[in-house]
């Protein structure tokens, strides 16, 4: 199969969807695509994700959104209503369970049945495909705010069909960001192709007057990912989505923990994405940003966890991200109670409100950080385009094969896994080993120097042990993993 970055004729989508809708019994409920479009048009403006994001961007406010999902419909609705009413969430999710993410609908069914019989959720999310169209509409109709599907699904075609027909107005994921961090054995050819289907479907709704927002998953593995890597993937997925007719995009980034690097990252993400989209012929796209509070390990102590949440809220507010995805004080323990989830939201909102009139002033350090992120991202993207012989889809596949793009700590065997990130002496994420990333000597020297300063300060040679120390550091109460 050769996948190219070219808009699908609509007949190609229609021919395929017949097969896709047969992969689980609820698929036939959405067979008539016109009914889905009609239903979407009946949804009030206040409940449309793209419109609410647009307003937030214009007013320079940062919206708050949780993650949440449980096995059963009524419990899921109660959870989301609680987060809306008691947590003050501006935007709502439906986080999908892990069986559905791997298209294992029979196991999801077993999880639903056991959840009914045991009286507690045995699934870590909402199995939207199994529940089907009417149940999903019930979820959307029970809430005042826009709802997004959040998941981690390499092949999310059936889920997308059901979600869009059911009135969800935002869909997370992408052919790279929902493959490399979320799968072991699925090729990029396949997932880029699957996500062209999703983007073409969103594009078709768009052509019929329905605004659907798309959000590539920014944080990737959430483990010391340098901004240039996540930016490269986000921009690639934005270009691939735009080609299929997607008009509204939210690009994401996971908090690193160094404030200057975090603010520089959100600013450059938007600036670079705008530049690359326009240069590839995609003008007039609505671009917004999402900042993810710390995605790595959390402290067990809830008071300390609130500290981590607050620092993420501060960075999101100062960077002026359009929305922030919120963590909870139960993060170290797994899936939170609704009360803990609402606490994370309220903590975040308090800080967002307090910081809404402040920005991080321009400084030499901020400008340098932005310049370096831009140089690195351009080096990676331009090498990707070149190796793809002018095609971004081919380029993405070949870039991963050759290590031009390399995501640290990813489970996929289609990822090179040769780079090693570590924090510098100020806590910013740098490259201890840049593997086969196409970086110039200037960029290499910058990273080497930063890491060397830390090694000297700690009186040790930078090694894998330093990386492990950094991974555990926040859980233990620090940002930089210093030797004890």
């Amino acid at each position: 199969m050769e996948v190219v970055n070219k808009k699908w004729p609509i007949e190609k989508l229609f021919a395929q969807r017949e097969e896709i809708l047969k992969t689980w019994e609820t698929g036939n409920e959405v067979a008539d695509i016109k009914k889905g479009i009609e239903y979407q048009k009946s949804i009030p403006k206040a409940k449309n994700f793209a419109k609410k994001l647009k307003e937030a961007k214009e007013n320079k406010v940062t919206l708050v959104q949780p993650r949440a999902g449980v096995a059963l419909v009524n419990e899921h609705i109660a959870l989301l209503q609680f987060l809306q009413d008691e947590g003050g969430a501006d935007l709502l999710p439906s986080t999908i369970d892990s069986y559905t993410r791997q298209n294992r609908y029979a196991e999801a069914q077993k999880g639903i049945e056991e959840s009914v019989s045991s009286g507690r959720s045995l699934l870590n999310g909402f199995p939207a495909v199994n529940h089907g169209l009417e149940n999903c509409r019930k979820v959307v109709e029970s809430l005042k705010s826009p709802v997004q599907v959040r998941h981690g699904t390499p092949d999310a075609r059936l889920l997308a069909e059901i979600a869009l027909a059911a009135g969800f107005t935002d869909y997370e994921g992408g052919g790279i960001s929902y493959n490399i961090p979320y799968a072991k054995d699925v090729s990029l050819e396949k997932t880029i192709y699957y996500w062209q289907y999703v983007d073409r479907l969103v594009g078709y709704y768009q052509e019929n007057g329905v605004e659907i927002n798309r959000e590539p998953f920014g944080p990737l593995t959430g483990t010391l990912v340098p901004p240039s890597i996540s930016h490269s993937v986000a921009i690639l997925e934005a270009i691939l989505a735009a080609e299929q007719g997607v008009m509204n995009l939210t690009l994401g980034y996971g908090q690193c923990g160094n404030l200057i690097q975090d603010v520089a990252a959100i600013q450059t993400l938007e600036e670079l994405a705008e530049e690359y989209l326009v240069n590839n012929g995609h003008e007039n796209r609505q671009l917004t940003t999402v900042f993810h509070q710390w995605m790595g390990g959390f402290p067990q102590d809830e008071a300390k966890a609130f500290g981590v949440i607050s620092w993420g809220a501060s960075a999101a507010a100062l960077a002026k991200a359009t929305k922030v995805i919120v963590k909870t004080p139960h993060e170290a323990m797994g899936i939170p109670t609704k009360e803990a989830n609402a606490q994370g939201l309220r903590t975040t909102k308090q800080i967002i409100n307090m910081l809404k009139d402040q920005t991080l002033p321009e400084s030499k350090q901020l400008l340098l950080e932005k310049e370096m992120i831009k140089k690195e991202t351009r080096a990676i993207l331009d090498a990707t385009y070149k190796i793809g012989e002018g095609d971004w889809a081919k380029g993405a596949i070949r870039a991963f094969e050759s290590g031009i793009i390399d995501i640290p700590f990813a489970p996929s065997r289609f990822n090179a896994g040769r780079i090693l990130p570590a924090r510098d002496n100020d806590g910013a994420i740098r490259l201890l080993d840049s593997g086969d990333l196409p970086l110039t000597k200037e960029i290499q020297d910058f990273h080497n120097e930063k890491i060397a300063i830390r090694g000297k300060a700690e009186d040790r040679d930078p090694s894998f042990q330093m990386v492990i120390d950094d991974i555990y550091a926040i859980g233990k109460g620090f940002l930089v993993g210093r030797p004890s």
């Binding site: 892990s98 961090p181 899936i335 489970p411």
Partner: protein
């Protein structure tokens, strides 16, 4: 002299790879021969890898809350494959939600695991336990 080969992996539909890579590194450093079957591993893959490599222990990780459904029956599968006596450890965020640890631990020990670890356990803890369990078995 028994082998020092162990099988590690992340069970079920779980893709959490970071801890898996760290356990691989830490157990290797501690002198074990680590057979890492990675994420998204089925019970069958764990058992098959243990049989093929003559492993002395299987270390199951589960971070995403489906551990209870995913781990049930693993001991039976080991018995069917003729490795009923193999050490079985499990650790991570084993159930959905914040739960009291002792009942969770009991659930997994009743399932046939020799040891179960709560979230946030350092690799050194299970390395030490494994060394003790193996020396007692000799």
């Amino acid at each position: 002299m028994s082998s020092n080969t162990i099988v590690i992996g992340v069970i079920g539909a779980d893709v959490h790879a970071v801890g898996n890579k760290i356990l691989d590194y830490a157990f290797t450093q501690a002198g074990f021969k680590v057979v890492n079957i990675g994420v998204l591993a089925s019970q069958e893959e764990f058992v098959k890898a243990a049989v093929e490599t003559g492993a002395v222990a299987i270390l199951v990780s589960s971070l995403y809350g489906h551990g209870e459904i995913d781990c049930r029956g693993l001991r039976d599968k080991c018995e069917e494959a003729g490795i009923g006596d193999i050490l079985l450890y499990v650790g991570g965020n084993l159930v959905v939600g914040k739960k009291e640890w002792e009942p969770v631990k009991k659930t997994f020990l009743n399932m046939g695991f020799d040891r179960a670890y709560p979230p946030g356990t350092a690799p050194e803890t299970s390395i030490e336990d494994l060394k003790n369990d193996l020396s007692q078995g000799e």
